[in-house]
Amino acid sequence: MDATKLVELNAAYARAIDNEKFEEWPKLFHETCLYKLTTAENIAKGYEAGIMYADSRAMLEDRVSALRKANIYERHRYRHLVGLPVVLGQVNGAADVETPFLIVRIMRDGVMDVFATGCYLDKVTTSDEGALRFAERIVVCDGGRFDTLVAIPF
């Protein structure tokens, strides 16, 4: 799998979220997919739950609808710093990829905090149109504490 294209996929992902173009975010996934936001400790213990969990692109779209129309929270945004992807293995055109990330949360009043660090455990395949898309993105946070609330996906 072309490493440059993987980097571009991650860049598009971070850009969609950080620029608050949330509607672009589900488009980077396949129609049937898995997105989960969890912690390293839960993974280590074999606990399946996530604070966000979606097994379809439509469910990701519902996340976006909810944060646009339903949920109430103090205005804030993220800045992602995404590291270089490492391809752990490839089978039949599907690559297992691990990519570290750091998210700074910028609050309405200007306070900037390290909100989360961790790694993305991805399964990436090529769509019918020839673009790389996520079949799976498991967001594995290094820590288990989520300050106040998590409205915007990681």
């Binding site: 739950a49 969990y53 779209e61 106040t148 409205a151």
Partner: protein, 428 residues
């Protein structure tokens, strides 16, 4: 059943009986709460002594966390670190996580397994599974020199021990000899509501923690506040998981301390119209899920209760939102900080389909919950809003000024119940 108990104010209390750090309670009504109660450090210290270290049952862990001998979890009872451990005979012990020697934590991980004893890393003093001080390194010194004095009695220095009890797989601990048996503590109704959900062996599905920038009581009040659910949480209302116009009510234990609110699954069209007339923000019928599999619940408790939120004084919440089950432990971290420890769970006999259903419905709660997200910030909004109002009071008057069970959720009855119990424990 009357669960009122004799609550002797403990000797460590910061103020004399009937007095708060700010003089008498502002008005002798359960419907008024002074704001200093969320701000005052002396009051906070008093809460740790009189409530958490007093005659209350505090959540210690799940039985499922410690199935085998020597399995342990660490936790906090108010500000006090504790170890809860399974003993050889199957019983569960709990003791203060503080070495008798220099006060270091005896166990410093979230949990694990010890064979027969805990050993403090600092100077290797060791404790059996009951928390008895059993071994002192170099107690007799080296080559006859040094060591402890001959008249040192280990028994006088063991960490404080807590009594434990188990209800529906929830392990509770108390420092007080006066805390009544758990079923009496909760009352028959609330006990029944705990057993309704926790009716068979559970399995943990995940743990998350959520620090909040507010006093711990603001979260407990929010949990008990059935009035806000349909108004603050749009997701709830729009998708008809619950709203005030659905059938339901709130049970309050006779002493006010504990509650269970519930929703019965039936649509109330007339009620929906009433909602529209009020033009409430939280009612938007045009909002539909692109993937409705998020919310395809099945009744699993043999009744029509879709939602049950239950609180056990002082700081535990047991939640059933359809098939999304969790316990939330509220840990105070100072006058204006707290943490929710979320444990999502299912049952050992869940089918793969039920497991997936729970995973999807877990989107509803937790730090990123569609219906709980706002609860994460609203306590902080109160904490900030009252910054200059310590001598002012809040109004908790929906549904009257008493703290009884009511067949409506347009009430703050169980919030008043919290204050009824709180004032009794605090001697206010």
């Amino acid at each position: 059943m009357d669960t009122r108990i004799d609550l002797t104010v403990h000797e460590a209390a910061a103020t004399p009986h009937g007095q708060t750090p700010h003089g008498p309670w502002p008005e002798d009504s359960l419907a008024r709460v002074p704001y200093w109660v969320y701000q005052d450090q002396d009051n906070y210290t008093g809460e740790m002594r009189r409530i958490f270290e007093g005659a209350t049952w505090n959540f210690a862990c799940l039985e499922a966390d410690i199935p085998n001998k020597g399995d342990y979890r660490t936790n906090q009872v108010g500000g006090m670190p504790v170890i809860v451990v399974r003993d050889a005979d199957g019983s569960i012990n709990c003791f203060e996580n503080r070495c008798a020697h220099r006060g270091a934590l005896i166990a410093f991980d979230d949990g694990g397994n010890v064979q027969n004893n805990f050993k403090c890393i600092y100077h290797a003093w060791s404790y059996d599974l009951s928390g008895n001080l059993k071994g002192i390194a170099f107690e007799r010194g080296i080559n006859g020199a040094g060591g402890m004095s001959k008249d040192f009695r280990r028994d006088d220095f063991s960490p404080r021990k807590l009594r434990t009890t188990v209800l529906g797989g929830l392990v509770f601990a108390t420092l007080s000899d006066e805390t009544p048996p758990i079923e009496q503590y909760l009352g028959a109704e609330i006990t029944g509501r705990v057993k309704r959900v926790l009716n068979r062996p559970i399995r943990v599905m995940g743990r998350f923690s959520q620090p909040l920038p507010n006093n711990w009581k603001l979260y407990m009040e929010n949990v008990k506040d059935t009035y806000h659910a349909s108004l603050l949480h749009l997701f709830f209302a729009t998708f008809r998981i619950t709203r005030l116009t659905q059938a339901g009510g709130v049970l309050v234990s006779p002493d006010g301390a504990h509650h269970a609110s519930y929703t019965i699954g039936s649509e109330d069209v007339a009620g929906a119209e009433a909602f529209k007339e009020k033009d409430l923000r939280s009612e938007r019928d045009d909002y539909k899920l692109a993937d409705p599999s998020l919310l395809q619940p099945v009744a699993e408790f043999g009744d029509k209760i879709q939602l049950q939120i239950l609180s056990i004084f002082p700081s535990l919440v047991l939640q059933q939102i359809h098939n999304c089950l969790a316990v939330r432990q509220v840990v105070p971290k100072g006058t204006d900080k707290m943490e929710i420890l979320w444990t999502y769970f299912g049952f050992e006999d869940d089918t793969p389909e039920m497991n997936t259903r729970r995973l999807k419905q877990q989107n509803l709660v937790g730090p990123a919950g569609f219906v709980s997200m706002e609860d994460g910030c609203v306590g902080g909004f109160v904490q900030r809003g009252i910054a200059a109002a310590s001598d002012k009071i809040s109004v908790v008057e929906m549904g009257g000024s008493q703290a009884e069970s009511q067949a409506t959720r347009a009430t703050e009855s169980s919030v008043r119940g919290f204050w009824k119990a709180y004032r009794r424990f605090m001697g206010y």
